[in-house]
């Protein structure tokens, strides 16, 4: 018996979510007395692979072939399933990232495993059943999902489980799974990364703005504030619908749900659909000139004031605080 964890990398470097899922799996393993086996697919250097031991992996299976350099969900799912079977895994853990959302159901279907996607806490064990807390109704509620199948798959929401160091040693093994050529029917033609931007779902701080900004030409101060804080930028639905900002920045019930440590909402009134996507944020700051804006009801800190007056002052104050 073991817990298999799929660890994602970007261009050969592990993402924070990789350490989150290993920490998550290790916490389950400590409860149940099993071992954590990490599976890495792609060209990750051996020195990086061994870092996974710091978070509780006792073994790392390393799949590293040119063919698998890019993410192909059918092939990657087939490898995860192969590794889960060969290591007799009873639980498979992945990140509920953009790639994980496509992978986890494929893995679950092939293993005929129940899947809890969007896990936000460690599972509780009740005999052969695992109970997992997940987000539901776009952050307006939580659902406790019981997984009753022999093998269980859990996809953990980014930023919802703390990275924790653990003791132990790790071994690294090259792994050569058998893959069907039909699993490579999807071809990656191009990858376009905005290198200067922080990924929104994984960001620890998010600076978000709405119609109160009056037009796309005023986003410079939002980007500057985000830059000073090391934050990702986001927006409300009307803003992306108007084409002021790309859809990929739209946060809310029909956009991206975020759970950063700090969410700063500027010029956003706080429609129920927007609040749904941000309610998992640990601390919410609202800046709005309308003291009746519904967002103030869910905010931890608020400033009633005009964004065009407050934001430049806030940037100056943060620069002074950070000494930049």
């Amino acid at each position: 018996m073991s817990i298999l964890v799929y660890v994602e990398n970007t261009d050969g470097k592990f993402k924070k979510s990789a350490f989150e899922v290993v920490s998550y799996a290790n916490a389950i393993a400590e409860q149940s007395g099993t071992e954590v086996i990490a599976l890495s697919i792609g060209n990750v250097e051996e020195s990086q692979l061994s870092v996974l031991g710091k978070y509780g992996a006792s073994k790392v299976l390393n799949v590293n072939t040119e063919q698998l350099k890019s993410f192909v969900n059918q092939a990657y799912a087939a490898i995860i399933v192969d590794a889960a079977k060969s290591s007799s895994a009873s639980i498979v853990v992945l990140s509920n990232s953009f790639s994980g959302k496509g992978l986890a159901p494929r893995v679950a279907a092939k293993l005929e495993a129940g899947l809890a996607d969007g896990a936000i806490e460690l599972p509780t064990v009740n005999g052969e059943t695992l109970q997992v807390k997940t987000g539901a109704f776009s952050g307006k509620a939580f659902a406790y999902v019981a997984l009753t199948s022999a093998v269980k798959v859990i996809a953990v929401n980014p930023n919802s489980f703390e990275v924790k160091e653990a003791e132990g040693t790790v071994t690294i093994e090259p792994y050569s799974p058998s893959i069907d050529t039909s699993d490579f029917s999807t071809i990656v033609k191009d990858i376009i990364r905005a290198t200067d931007k922080i990924s929104l779902p994984e960001a620890e701080i998010v600076v978000s703005a709405g119609r109160g900004l009056k037009g796309p030409e005023n986003w410079g101060m939002i980007e500057e504030l985000a830059h000073v804080l090391g934050a990702a930028t986001a927006c409300s639905k009307p803003v992306s619908d108007a084409g002021w900002r790309p859809h990929s920045e739209h946060v809310g019930q029909t956009g991206i749900a975020v759970s950063p440590n700090l969410y700063i909402a500027i010029g956003i009134s706080g429609a129920i659909q927007h609040l749904a996507g941000v309610s998992a944020s640990k601390t919410i700051v609202v800046i709005n000139k309308d003291p009746e804006a519904p967002f103030f009801k869910v905010a931890d800190y608020g400033i009633v004031g005009d964004a065009f007056d407050v934001i430049p002052k806030l940037i100056t104050a943060l620069k002074a605080y950070k000494g930049i």
Binding site: F71, S138, L147, T195, A276, I303, V310
Partner: protein, 245 residues
Amino acid sequence: MKILVCISNVPDTTSKITFTNDNTAFNNAGVQYIVNPYDEIALSKAIDLAEGGKGTVTVITVGDSSTEATIRKALATGADNAIRVNALPRDAWFVANQIAHYAKDNSFDLILTGRESIDYNGTQVGSLVATILNIPSVSISKKLDIDGNSATVEREIEGGKEVLTLNLPAVIGTAEGVAETKIPNMRGIMTARTKPLDVIEPIEVAQLSHIVKFETPAPRGAVTLVDAGDVEKLVSLLHEKAKVI
């Protein structure tokens, strides 16, 4: 081109979410149901692709007769016909098996789903259907072009996007950017009543998961207001009290 669009019947986005039976069941009282907003994007894309006699659009949902108002709305929007699998959805595996079972017998070129449903926020059904049918899938697409037997898809990734090509048949999960959402017009509403809506019985599927209970988030404490002229105080609160910077 034959296109199957999977639609989910979900509470309106403005619904207040409450539960009954000791927090084990969703409280339907006073809740309006709608086509899942992401599925509307899938449906709109399918209608665009089939326009001008280039294809047909079938919508499928798994649900009891109460979902028929939502299905009729999809027909009014422009779908040609509809299938209702007569069962309450138990979990994503159950729903996906019903859809895959129907799709297998009716050889669709393209199956579209929304990227997720706004009720249980599952992103599972599309990829599960694809795996059961052993065809490719993309779970979150932001752009979709079809050329003959091939699809070009832009997929969202952390901090960017990826351009993929895949052969049909395939299952694609759609998000904003794929199509402008269509609204039913009067002619659509009138013709929707006469379009075929077939009800089929579910197949047996092993239950792999179930929801034990629900919980609503704890209310947040009262907001601490900071004077607009004293932003330094906000900075110190975020550093010293909230410890987030």
